[in-house]
């Protein structure tokens, strides 16, 4: 009986030990892989922002004030570096789920057009600015917040802190989802404005599309 119980305890102990060893190994692997994953995420996000800033600088250098050329460059910039589908889905808020495929597509196209128009209107403001990354933080496994500062090379304008929210899918290229200027997220602002329009119109997603169409006609 004693031998039997010792045997059972012994086998339990060795089983426990094996379990603990396995759990320990999993944890070690997790702790090693998590920072590695976060650092590769951060690297990808930083690389994207640096490339995008270089592209903006080259477009600004070549900018002669020709609106069609500027719009063409901004369109290229947006399509290469920004997550248009993600921006559309986020900015529609909970109403994205209620929208049908056609509405989603129309909204995405209108939103992209509005975004290009907004950047084109404000593109001049970037002349003479230099962007420097200050720090980058992984926000979960799919997003990185790259914080930095735009400084006026001539020192005439005060520095502006900007945060870029970059989505880092696995696999897939990193893309910009949002820009946060002095704590104000452009995407959240747009989302709250869109939600207000839809709610004012009895929850109709089509009302937002109609409002966007009207706005674009008057611009």
């Amino acid at each position: 009986m004693m031998y039997f119980s010792q045997g059972v305890i012994g086998s339990l102990k060795s089983k426990d030990c094996r379990n603990w060893a396995a759990i320990f190994c999993v944890f070690i692997a997790l702790f090693i892989s998590l920072p590695a994953q976060a650092s590769s995420q951060i690297e990808a996000a930083n690389r994207l922002i640096n490339t995008m800033v270089r592209d903006v600088e080259s477009y600004l250098l070549a900018d002669s004030g020709d609106i069609s050329k500027r719009t063409e460059n901004i369109t290229k910039l947006l399509d290469t570096h920004f997550d248009i589908a993600g921006i559309a889905r986020f900015s529609a808020g909970p109403y994205w789920r209620a929208a049908n495929e056609k509405e989603r597509l129309t909204y995405t196209q209108s939103m992209r057009k509005a975004l290009i128009g907004t950047i084109a209107r404000n593109f001049d403001q970037l002349v003479g600015l230099r962007f420097t990354i200050i720090d980058s933080q992984a926000k979960g496994s799919r997003m990185v917040l790259v914080r930095g500062t735009f400084r006026d090379k001539a020192g005439k304008r005060p520095p502006v802190s900007v945060g870029w929210r970059v989505v880092t899918p696995h696999p897939g290229p990193a893309k910009v989802l949002d820009v946060e200027i002095e704590n104000i997220s452009m995407l959240i602002t747009q989302k709250q404005e869109n939600i207000a329009i839809i709610r004012k119109n009895g929850g109709r997603f089509s009302a937002l599309i109609e409002a966007m169409r009207q706005r674009q006609q008057t611009q």
Binding site: K139, N183, N194, A196, A211
Partner: protein, 266 residues
Amino acid sequence: MLAYDWIEMLLNPTRSMLGFIIGLLSTAFLQSACSSVPETQRTDQRDPYEGANRGAFAFNMELDTHVLEPAANAYKRTIPKTGQHAIANHLNWTGLPATTLNSTLQGRYENAGVAFLHFAVNGLTLGLAELTEDPKAVNSQDFGQTLAHLNVPEGNFLMVPFLGPNTSRSLTGKVADTMTNPMSFLKAGEAAQTMQSLRPTVAAVSSRAKMSKALDDIKYNSLDPYARTRSLYYQSRAGRINAVVGKPNNNQTNDDQFESFFEDPS
């Protein structure tokens, strides 16, 4: 966005006819604000008086179109850059006693000391010239932030005629802060009195001129200027409150909103 410090006139309506009119309008606004919008019809749960608030916003926009925007354009055209800087410096200087007091109440003694030092040194020119090395060293603090630090609830969203967007808490804070304006207790003769009575108007024009691009964008390019202003106000305010108390109370942080976005697969 239309954060004009005209509340001094509200506090002392006999100071001018304009102050009296503003007092009347605000009272009318506050009375109409009592009728709240049902929860299901609100475009933002923090805004129960949306109907009255939109009315006040429309009034502020009219005021902006007919008075402030032309005045700000004229200000930018006629006042040289150095003059504009001097005016902005003076307006910042008048806010330093409030920062000193509020930083002390929040236990941020270093900031209180720096603000006091800047106030004393720059006071030699009534704040018109920056005599201190780094004006950015002072982190401006208001009584609304102090109330947040003391866990006072944020309250509802209020769009106030002439004053722009507020929450009940920040509006209370603004009233308290105007009492610490050095020009209101400075008895330095007629010149100081003239500066004091002109201050609210100058502040409104100067801030409109400084933010002209952003304000014009809201006015002329947004789909719903009211909703956009409300969102911008809340986010900017949350950033300031966050700096004092950590996570803003009664409000989702921007990060929270993105987290829930990634959790939702649709």
